[in-house]
């Protein structure tokens, strides 16, 4: 852009915009920060009032509630199922979405229109909650990890994104490989996939975060309380305010502990979002890229 000298009025506007942006960031982060402070606040240990109201810093730093939460088996159980479903879900999704998208990227594949139509239609209309629930029940997938990873395995939108990406790969590459005697499978595995790392990574991230945060399917399809994912364990403690398990643990430890349910709730919130907060700044730009790829119509 042209380099124009900024007038004092311009500088003032700049200052205001920068300040507004800073305020927006504060508003976005503050609710999360309150959880950090409440979870770390040690005032209650001395019998003083817990952090409440407008919290800025813990009055006394303690990791006591974290130590307590570590003893909470349901959380580790939930973590294990969440990690399992995320890994399994991402692997299955990537494998099956890519082998679906590759044939569709060939414009003159026989029946291409019908296949694409069949996939696209699911973006417009779905059976809904109850029929899906009954289907999983009749397939005897209730209480299995498959009920969480299989139903969403091949998303129509992801197929489209991958198909468009595959189409953008120069055809000459494939043709020369075919002249050299490579079949479609070999071309797909050795040429297309290695060239498609950006789109594979993007879709993997989308699917992965989806699985990490998913809870509704686990709530519906998993009735065994020992097989619930972390989000459902959280829901029980935070939303349904069912702290009986926590109380049980506190009693088992036998200490007359000063930690309130609310502080433990905050700690458990931190448990679930710390992994996300840790990786999020590094992967965020890939998500943006994914949105951009998705926004391009093809």
């Amino acid at each position: 852009m042209l380099n124009v000298k900024k007038t004092p009025a311009d500088r003032l506007i700049d200052f205001v915009i920068y300040a507004v942006m800073a305020a927006i960031m504060l508003i976005t982060l503050y609710p999360f920060w309150t959880q950090v402070v409440i979870s770390l606040d040690g005032a209650g240990v001395d019998g003083a009032a817990y952090a409440s109201g407008i919290v800025l810093l813990p009055s006394k730093l303690t990791f006591g509630s974290y130590k307590l939460a570590f003893k909470f088996d349901a959380i580790w159980n939930g973590y294990a199922y969440t990690v399992l479903r995320t890994v399994l879900g991402v692997l299955l999704s990537i494998v099956f979405t890519s082998i679906t998208a590759y044939p569709l990227s060939k414009r003159d594949l026989p029946f291409n229109k019908y296949f694409t139509g069949m996939i696209l239609f699911t973006m417009l209309f779905a059976g809904g909650t109850i029929p899906s629930y009954l289907l999983i029940k009749e397939l005897h997938m209730m209480n299995t990890i498959w009920a969480l990873v299989v139903p969403g395995m091949i998303g129509a939108f992801n197929v489209l994104i991958m198909r468009n990406f595959f189409r953008a790969i120069p055809e000459e590459l494939e043709e020369s490989a075919r002249v050299d005697g490579a079949g479609y499978l070999r071309i797909f595995a050795q040429i297309i996939l290695p060239l498609s790392k950006p789109v594979l990574a993007t879709v993997a991230l989308w699917v992965g975060v989806g699985h990490w945060n998913a809870w509704f399917d686990s709530l519906m399809y998993i009735t065994d309380p020992n097989k619930q994912v972390l989000q459902v364990v959280l829901r029980k403690i935070i939303i349904q305010n069912d702290t009986s398990d926590i109380t049980q643990i506190i009693q088992n430890i036998g200490k007359n502990t000063a930690y309130t349910g609310r502080q433990l709730q905050a700690t458990i919130v931190m448990f679930s979002i710390i992994p996300m907060l840790a990786v999020y700044p590094f992967i965020q730009k890939y998500f943006v890229k994914g949105v951009m790829i998705g926004a391009i119509k093809g």
């Binding site: 042209l2 506007i13 959880q35 060939k106 029929p131 479609y184 519906m220 919130v269 979002i273």
Partner: protein, 326 residues
């Protein structure tokens, strides 16, 4: 003489058509053979889509049946439109429908402009590093599940929370915000904006960064200040994408935000917060009225489908074929 020509001409055309068809079929067979590996690769997807996407669509038949779990969908007796009659005579259904429409229209009215304004302001930030930090921070809530966000808002709006502390400081009476039907919808709208405005701004931000810088340069030479540049270049360039996003969001007008409401509502606010999706869950999964819940869900899906067709039509009329969904 003439007759024979005509007849043989017709015959020839017929034979030609047959030949063409046969050739087409042969070339199609050849193509299928050529692409057989690729067609085989489609098999898992076809099985998946038939089983997990189309079988539930078939399950929609439940809405027209008196479902007996032991008899299955096929064996249960037909009841025609009886369930829909029951629904349309059910006062609570209208409460739920009204809530759905009100909440999602409120969200649209107040939430829709926020990402646009935010994108416009952020595009005025010239320091690249600062811009990236703001983006990273504001996108964050989009990646946190509503279970966790609801937990955070519970403590935020609780009696000892920051908001009530401020109210007390100014001498007011503390309010149980999340159990108060008068506040609940506003809280849904505000927390909804909190969660999505940053992420929602990406599309506008992308549109803004695609504007030819020469336009701005020309405007600067002509003596346009930054407000004039915003009003006469940035905003007009955003109008097509705004129109399309607005129309697209109309098709989701019966989705008022299941994840958010399901995690934040409670029995005290059902009257103002229960939406179609939460109602379907409670009726179907909790109370096991499968047929009734399916019928309510079907009503929603069909209205949504019709809306999508209308929306596509409007997008075509306004934005031209390029922006339409199909």
């Amino acid at each position: 003489m003439n007759d024979t020509v005509i007849v043989s001409g017709a015959e020839a055309r017929l034979a030609g058509k047959k030949r063409d068809k046969a050739m087409l079929r042969r070339s199609k067979m050849k193509k299928i053979k050529q692409y057989r590996v690729l067609l085989l690769m489609m098999v898992p997807a076809i099985v998946y889509y038939v089983v997990f996407q189309y079988l539930p669509m078939y399950g929609v038949l439940l809405a027209f049946k008196d479902f007996k779990i032991l008899k299955g969908i096929m064996g249960s007796p037909w009841v025609g439109l009886d369930l829909f009659r029951t629904i349309f005579h059910d006062d609570y259904f209208y409460t739920v429908l009204k809530n759905t429409l009100i909440i999602s229209l409120y969200k649209l009215l107040f939430g829709f402009p926020v990402p646009i304004v935010f994108a416009l302001l952020l595009s005025e930030v010239t320091n690249g590093k600062y811009k990236r930090v703001v983006q990273t921070v504001t996108y964050l809530p989009h990646f946190i599940s509503w279970v966790v966000l609801a937990g955070i808002f519970f403590s935020f709006f609780s009696l000892e929370g920051p908001l009530n502390t401020i109210i007390r400081f100014f001498g007011g009476n503390p309010v149980l915000f999340l159990a108060d039907a008068g506040y609940f919808r506003s809280i849904l709208v505000i927390t909804g904006i909190f969660q999505s405005f940053g992420w929602g701004s990406i599309i506008y931000f992308a549109a803004l960064s695609n504007i030819d810088p020469q336009l701005y340069e020309a405007a600067i030479i002509d003596g346009a200040g930054r407000f004039k540049r915003m009003f006469y270049i940035s905003i007009p360039m955003l109008v097509p994408i705004i129109a399309i996003m607005l129309i697209l969001s109309m098709s989701g007008v019966l989705d008022a935000g299941f994840d958010q409401i399901f995690n934040m509502y409670n029995t005290q606010v059902y009257n103002v917060a229960d939406i179609i999706d939460t109602y379907v869950y409670r009726k179907g999964i909790v109370e096991m009225s499968y047929s009734y819940a399916t019928a309510v869900g079907l009503f929603k899906s069909v209205v949504a489908l019709i809306l999508i067709f209308i929306v596509n039509r409007i997008v075509k009329l306004i934005g031209g074929k390029d922006h339409a969904l199909w």
